[in-house]
C-alpha cells in the first residue's frame, strides 16, 4: 500500500486499484477497530466508492479511534486547531506517516516544483515538542521534502511578531523561498503587519512562494477577502512571487488540495471523493453537498474515509488548468446557527 503513489498525483487515474485498496483497508479497520465495526456492522460486496463505510469527522473530536493491528508502531496524536469548538485527535502510526509524507510532498511538488528552497514557517519550534502534534505544524512539515533549510520565524506559536532579521538573512542569500503559515497567522503577522525596511528591501529581490491553509472564517469576520490577502502579501516581494491556498483536514492527513489557477481543487489519483445530500446522504453528481474524502494511506485508525462538514461540488469535465483527474469546487463550511436552549455552558 499504496501502489498508486508510484505515479505522479495527476497522472491517469486507476480507480479499480484505488477501490480495491479502500475495500481492503475498510476490512482491516472493521476487523481491528471494535467501535468502527459497531458503526458499520454489515459490510458486503462493494462495487463503487460510494458504498464504502465512512466516519463523520466530528467523531474524531469525541472518540479515540484506533485500529489495533499487531505490529502497528504508534506515533504522536495529530490535533486539529479546534477553531469551531473542541479539537479532533487522530492517532498517527509510523507506516501511515511515511505514506502520508510521500503523498503531501508529491502533491505540493506539482504546484511548487521539485526545486529545494529555504522554508520559513510562521510558527515556533517549541510547538513541535509534546505528545500532540498540532495539525498546522504537520502541514508545515509536509513542505519539508521541498525545503533546503527550515527556519521557524516567530518566537511563539500565538501570532507573535515575525523575526524579520531572520527572514532578511535567509532571503538575501536565495532567489526563491517558501513561506508557510495558517491563513490567519499569515495575514496577522505578515500581510497586515509592518515590515522593517531592511526586510522589505531583501524581500523585493526574492521570489516568495507563500503557502497557507486553515480556512477563511476568521478573516471573513475581518472583511479580508482572498484578493486583499494575496495583494498584501505580494506587494512587498519580488516578481514571480505567488500565494497558494490549500485545503486539508487533520482527519485526512497526508492529502492536501491546493487551489489551482482557476480555484479548483484537484484530486490525486490515490484519493477519491463523494458529495452527499446532507438530508439523505445520497451521492450527488454536480450538485452541492457534504464532501466525503477517501484515501488508502490511513492504516492505524479508520480515517481513510471521512464525511466532512465542508460543502463542495464535483467539477464537470476537465479543468482548463490542464491537470487530469477529478476536481471539485470548495464552497465553505456548513452554515451554523447559534445554539438554542437552556442547557448552558
Amino acid at each position: 500500500v499504496s501502489s498508486l503513489l508510484a505515479q505522479r498525483p495527476f497522472a491517469p487515474r486507476d480507480d479499480a486499484t484505488l477501490l480495491s485498496e479502500l475495500v481492503e483497508l475498510s476490512r482491516h479497520h472493521l476487523a481491528s477497530c471494535p467501535a468502527y465495526a459497531r458503526i458499520w456492522p454489515s459490510f458486503g460486496k462493494v462495487s463503487r466508492v460510494e458504498e464504502l463505510p465512512w466516519l463523520h469527522v466530528g467523531l474524531f473530536k469525541r472518540l479515540e479511534l484506533v485500529s489495533g493491528a499487531a505490529g502497528t508502531r504508534r506515533e504522536r496524536i495529530l490535533r486539529s486547531s479546534g477553531t469551531s469548538g473542541s479539537a479532533s485527535k487522530v492517532r498517527l502510526d509510523a507506516a501511515s506517516s511515511e505514506l502520508q509524507a510521500r503523498s503531501t510532498a508529491a502533491i505540493l511538488a506539482e504546484f511548487l516544483g521539485d526545486e529545494r528552497r529555504p522554508l520559513l514557517v510562521l510558527d515556533s519550534a517549541r510547538a513541535l515538542v509534546g505528545t500532540e502534534l498540532p495539525a498546522r505544524l504537520a502541514a508545515a512539515m509536509g513542505l519539508k521534502p521541498l525545503a533546503s533549510d527550515l527556519r521557524f520565524i516567530v518566537e511563539d506559536s500565538a501570532s507573535t511578531p515575525v523575526r524579520w532579521e531572520v527572514v532578511a538573512d535567509v532571503v538575501r542569500g536565495h532567489r526563491d523561498v517558501l513561506v508557510f503559515g495558517t491563513t490567519t497567522s499569515l495575514w496577522q503577522v505578515w500581510g497586515a503587519a509592518h515590515i522593517p525596511d531592511a526586510a522589505v528591501e531583501a524581500l523585493r529581490g526574492c521570489r516568495v512562494h507563500f503557502v497557507h491553509s486553515g480556512g477563511w472564517k476568521r478573516l471573513e469576520a475581518q472583511r479580508v477577502d482572498r484578493a486583499t490577502f494575496d495583494a498584501a502579501l505580494l506587494a512587498r516581494t519580488g516578481e514571480g512571487s505567488r500565494v497558494i491556498d490549500f485545503y486539508g483536514l487533520a482527519e485526512q492527513v497526508g492529502i492536501v488540495f491546493p487551489a489551482c489557477e482557476l480555484g479548483n481543487r484537484h484530486v490525486p489519483r490515490w484519493v477519491d471523493l463523494v458529495v452527499r445530500d446532507p438530508y439523505t446522504l445520497a451521492p450527488l453528481d454536480g450538485e452541492a453537498g457534504l464532501l466525503q474524502l477517501l484515501n488508502p494511506l490511513a492504516l492505524g485508525a479508520p480515517y481513510h474515509s471521512v464525511l466532512t462538514e465542508d460543502l463542495a461540488r464535483v467539477g464537470q469535465g476537465p479543468c482548463p488548468c490542464g491537470r487530469g483527474g477529478k476536481h471539485f469546487e470548495l464552497l465553505g463550511r456548513v452554515p451554523r446557527a447559534e445554539a438554542r436552549g437552556c442547557g448552558v455552558a
Binding site: A35, Y36, R38, I39, L55, H56, V57, G58, L59, R62, L63, P278, Y279, L281, L290, L307, E309, V334, P335, R336, A337, E338, A339, R340, G341, C342, G343, V344, A345
Partner: protein, 392 residues
C-alpha cells in the same frame, strides 16, 4: 411605590396583602393583548416552536393563578390582615449563554411581582428577551404593562467580565442566575447587599418515564413535541425515555414508531443540525446504542440500557427498558424533571419518585417544559417579595 393591594387567603382565616405598584389584573390583561398579537405572526428572532410555547404561556388564566399558588386564593373582601408581601426591589437576571426562551418566560413571570428587572444577556448572539420586550411594547397601547416594560425592564448585553456585571450584583435585591454551577457560583460571589436573595437555575437532567400500557401515537407525538423544542439543550427536555418494566423489544418498537412519527412534529432541520445528527448516530453506535436517524436527520433515536453512556448530542434521544427499581436507582442526582405517563395511580408513583430520588419535579410529559413560579425546588417567584408581619 407599591400602592395597590391584592388580598389572598392564608388558610387560617387571615389574609395576606400583596402590595404592587399596579393592578395585577391590568398587567394580566396586557399580557393577554400581547398574546392576541403574537398569534398573528412569528417574529424572525423566534422559531415557530418557541413562539407557540410563548403564546401558550401568556394565557391570562394561567398568569392569574401564579400569585394564588404562592399566597393563597384571591379575595375581594379580606379577612384580618396578618401579613404584607412587598416587592424586594431590583431583580437582576443572568440569562444563559444559549439563545433561550427562559428570558422571555422569566420576564413575564417576574413582571407580576412589580419589581424593576434588569436582564444580563450574552454579549454575542441573538437575544430573545430584548426581542420579546420590543414586541410586547409594540403590541400594547398606552397601558400599565407597556409603561412597566418601558420604564422598569431593561436588557443589557455584556460579557461576563464587564464592570457593569459587578455593579448589577451590587444593586440587586434578587439575583436570578441561569447557567452552569460555576457561572452561578461566580455571580453569587460578587459583592451584593447582605439582605439580598440569590437563586440559581443550573443545568439539569430530565427524563420521561412511560408505562408500556400508555404507549400510543398520541403519547409519542407529545413526547416528540416536548423533545423537539430544544432537544437535549432544554434542561426540562427528556435526555432519555425509560419504558418501565418492559422488554428491550418493546423499547425497540417504541423507538421505531417514534421515528415514523417524528417528521409530523419536527420540520426539516438546518443543515448543520442534520450533519451533527449523522455524527451523533455514529457516535451512539460506537458506544453500543442501537441508533437510527429520523427522516431528514432531524433526530437520533436509539435503544439501549440505563448503563449505556449518555451522549452530549442535542438531538439524541435514548430509549431504555428498565425496571422501576432500576430506573429510580439510576436517576441522576441532578435530575430536574421526570415526565411521567403512568397507568394507574400517577400521584402515588410521583410521590415514590420524589421521595426516593433527588428529582425536583414529576409532571405529565406534556407539562415537562411548563415554567412556573416553583422551579428547581424553590418558589423563586415568591422569593421576589419581602414578607412582612402585621401584628394584631
Amino acid at each position: 411605590l407599591p400602592d395597590v393591594f391584592h388580598y389572598h387567603a392564608r388558610g387560617d382565616g387571615k389574609s395576606v396583602a400583596l402590595a404592587l405598584p399596579f393592578s395585577l389584573d391590568e398587567i394580566v390583561v396586557g399580557w393577554g393583548a400581547v398574546r392576541d398579537r403574537a398569534l398573528r405572526a412569528v417574529p424572525p428572532e423566534f422559531t415557530r416552536a418557541e413562539w407557540a410555547y410563548l403564546a401558550l404561556f401568556l394565557d391570562p388564566a394561567a398568569l392569574r393563578a401564579v400569585p394564588e399558588r404562592a399566597f393563597g386564593a384571591g379575595q375581594a373582601c379580606p379577612g384580618e390582615i396578618a401579613g404584607v408581601a412587598r416587592p424586594r426591589g431590583q431583580v437582576a437576571v443572568w440569562l444563559p449563554s444559549n439563545v433561550s426562551l427562559l428570558g422571555p418566560l422569566t420576564l413575564v413571570l417576574l413582571s407580576l411581582t412589580g419589581n424593576p428587572l434588569t436582564f444580563k444577556a450574552a454579549s454575542e448572539g441573538a437575544d430573545l428577551t430584548s426581542a420579546f420586550r420590543a414586541f410586547a411594547i409594540s403590541a400594547l397601547p398606552a397601558s400599565p404593562l407597556r409603561a412597566y416594560l418601558e420604564r422598569e425592564v431593561s436588557v443589557v448585553a455584556m460579557p461576563r467580565e464587564d464592570t457593569r456585571v459587578a455593579a448589577l450584583a451590587r444593586s440587586a435585591m434578587v439575583r436570578v442566575v441561569f447557567g452552569s454551577d460555576a457561572a452561578a457560583a461566580a455571580v453569587h460571589a460578587l459583592p451584593h447587599p447582605v439582605e439580598s436573595v440569590g437563586i440559581s437555575f443550573v443545568d439539569r437532567h430530565s427524563e420521561a418515564w412511560i408505562h408500556p400500557a400508555r404507549v400510543d401515537d398520541a403519547l409519542l407525538l407529545t413526547l416528540a413535541r416536548v423533545f423537539s423544542v430544544y432537544g437535549q439543550a432544554g434542561c426540562t427536555a427528556p435526555r432519555r425515555v425509560v419504558l418501565l418494566d418492559a422488554s428491550p423489544d418493546e423499547a425497540g418498537r417504541l423507538r421505531d414508531r417514534l421515528a415514523e412519527l417524528w417528521p409530523s412534529v419536527a420540520p426539516r432541520p438546518p443543515m448543520h443540525i442534520a450533519t451533527q445528527n449523522v455524527m451523533a448516530r455514529q457516535w451512539a453506535a460506537a458506544e453500543g446504542w442501537d441508533a437510527v436517524l429520523s427522516r431528514d436527520h432531524a433526530a437520533v433515536l436509539a435503544v439501549g440500557g440505563l448503563d449505556h453512556p449518555p451522549l452530549d448530542a442535542p438531538w439524541f434521544l435514548g430509549v431504555c427498558a428498565a425496571s422501576s427499581a432500576a430506573a429510580l436507582r439510576q436517576l441522576p442526582a441532578h435530575t430536574q424533571t421526570v415526565g411521567l405517563a403512568w397507568q394507574g395511580d400517577a400521584a402515588a408513583k410521583a410521590l415514590e419518585i420524589l421521595t426516593r430520588s433527588r428529582a425536583r419535579r414529576v409532571v405529565p410529559i406534556e407539562r415537562m417544559h411548563h415554567f412556573l413560579e416553583i422551579w428547581d425546588g424553590s418558589s423563586f417567584w415568591r422569593a421576589a417579595f419581602e414578607e412582612l408581619e402585621v401584628g394584631s
